[in-house]
């Protein structure tokens, strides 16, 4: 990574703007803050204002996740639209459409004893023994109605997030006093769905569905990045081999977290048996 800082410029960040052709991706945050990603050469060159250069939260909450998403393809890092939590060395991936409640459930699971890895995007890589799930330093993003379940959010203000949604974006460890981890080994993949009424239902799903979900969530890459595509396919195949369940729940996220804790304990016993 090479960054040129224009000290005399005082511009803060503006709305993000992304474009890409072949192996090059450009991300800009206003006229002065421009990032050039070269996927083939695995480099990032940037021009930023003095203000942005010193804005820790920008680098931590925006640029690092974006960089993982863009350059990750070159090293087999697959972005999966799911939350990730860990308990006793066992990782749980919680997938679901936007608005399904992944972040809310992640906070409830962390309060129930899981370690928090990520709430929205998890980055999966291949390891010697299987796969590893990585989180980022991005804050947990909770929609306004989450304050009904987590009163500590009342101390925080809503703000406009990168995709334009109004949300609470908070440091989960500080706000909820829960444990966090940077990575874990995923053991299960759950697809989250909401239902009316306080009930839960676990239904096994086939690996093809899981593979399709992960494949559909990753960005299409140009033909010339065929090596990156092949690397990514291998990792997606490994994610698809995880035991996979559809998890339908109604009621509070705390209720769902209790049910999931029981589920994980019983599954873990199966692994140990």
């Amino acid at each position: 990574m090479r960054v040129v800082v224009a000290e005399t410029l005082r511009d803060g960040t503006d709305d993000p703007y992304f474009r890409g052709l072949h192996h090059v991706v450009i991300a800009s945050f206003g006229e002065s803050n421009i990032f050039v990603f070269d996927i083939l050469r695995r480099t990032l060159s940037a021009h930023v204002s003095g203000v942005v250069a010193r804005d820790d939260s920008f680098w931590k909450e925006k640029l690092i996740p974006i960089t993982l998403g863009v350059l990750g393809a070159a090293i087999g890092l697959v972005p999966v639209h799911c939350a990730c939590l860990e308990v006793d060395g066992h990782g749980l991936l919680v997938a679901g459409a936007s608005g399904a409640g992944k972040s809310t459930l992640s906070v409830a699971l962390a309060q129930a004893g899981f370690s928090y890895v990520s709430d929205d995007w998890t980055y999966i890589s291949e390891s010697e023994d299987g796969i590893v799930a990585h989180g980022t330093s991005a804050p947990v993003k909770l929609l306004p109605d989450a304050v009904r379940h987590f009163s500590s959010l009342q101390r925080h203000a809503l703000r406009t997030s990168m995709n334009g949604e109004l949300a609470y974006e908070v440091d989960i460890a500080r706000t909820f006093s829960v444990r966090t981890r940077r990575e874990c080994e995923p053991r299960w993949l759950l697809f989250l769905e909401r239902t009316e009424g306080a009930e839960v239902e676990f239904t096994p799903m086939c690996s093809a569905e899981a593979r399709n979900y992960v494949s559909a969530g990753v960005e299409r890459l140009p033909v010339r990045l065929h090596e990156a595509v092949a690397l990514r396919e291998r990792t997606i195949e490994l994610v698809g081999r995880l035991p996979c369940w559809r998890f339908r729940y109604g009621g509070s996220p705390q209720f769902a977290a209790e049910q999931l804790l029981d589920f994980v304990v019983s599954r873990r016993q199966e692994i140990c048996a």
């Binding site: 992304f18 890409g20 072949h22 006229e31 421009i34 050039v36 070269d38 060159s45 990753v218 299409r220």
Partner: protein, 140 residues
């Protein structure tokens, strides 16, 4: 799992169709591609060659944006290794001198002659000894 995940949104506009394609002769690897005929023709008529790459003609893929304005926007040029990027408003031009390519997005208010006579020369400027526009070359 729902229908919304069955397709890939092209958020970066990487896969915009470029129906206007001009290719060089049998000996040339150059290819001009655009979704805008005026841009494609202008690039074709003012083809650039890269002397650092055995006089290789540059391939260009340039997308015309439907919106955006460069009015009053400052021009920023970032040069790092083989990549050089010009950024102005919503106009982005990228020159990869190793692969002898120019890639770019041109905002709606930038005219094709301006692209060829001002922006591309600005993209190549510090390497002016290595790059030349050659009207004669295009008519060989």
């Amino acid at each position: 799992m729902n229908g919304e995940r069955g397709w890939h949104p092209d958020l970066l506009r990487r896969f915009v169709a470029t129906p206007y394609v001009f290719r060089g002769g049998a000996e040339s690897l150059a290819c001009i591609e655009s979704n805008d005929l005026e841009i494609a023709l202008s690039l074709w008529n003012a083809r650039f060659i890269c002397r650092g790459q055995n006089n290789r003609e540059l391939s260009c893929k340039v997308i015309r944006e439907a919106a955006g304005s460069a009015d009053g926007a400052e021009m920023v040029v970032i040069s790092d290794g083989p990549l050089r990027v010009l950024y102005q408003g919503r106009t982005i031009l990228i020159h990869d001198c190793e692969s002898a390519e120019v890639l770019g997005f041109v905002s709606s208010d930038v005219k094709a002659p301006e692209l060829v006579s001002l922006l591309l020369p600005a993209l190549f400027a510090p390497q002016s000894k290595e790059f030349v526009t050659t009207g004669a070359f295009t008519k060989k």
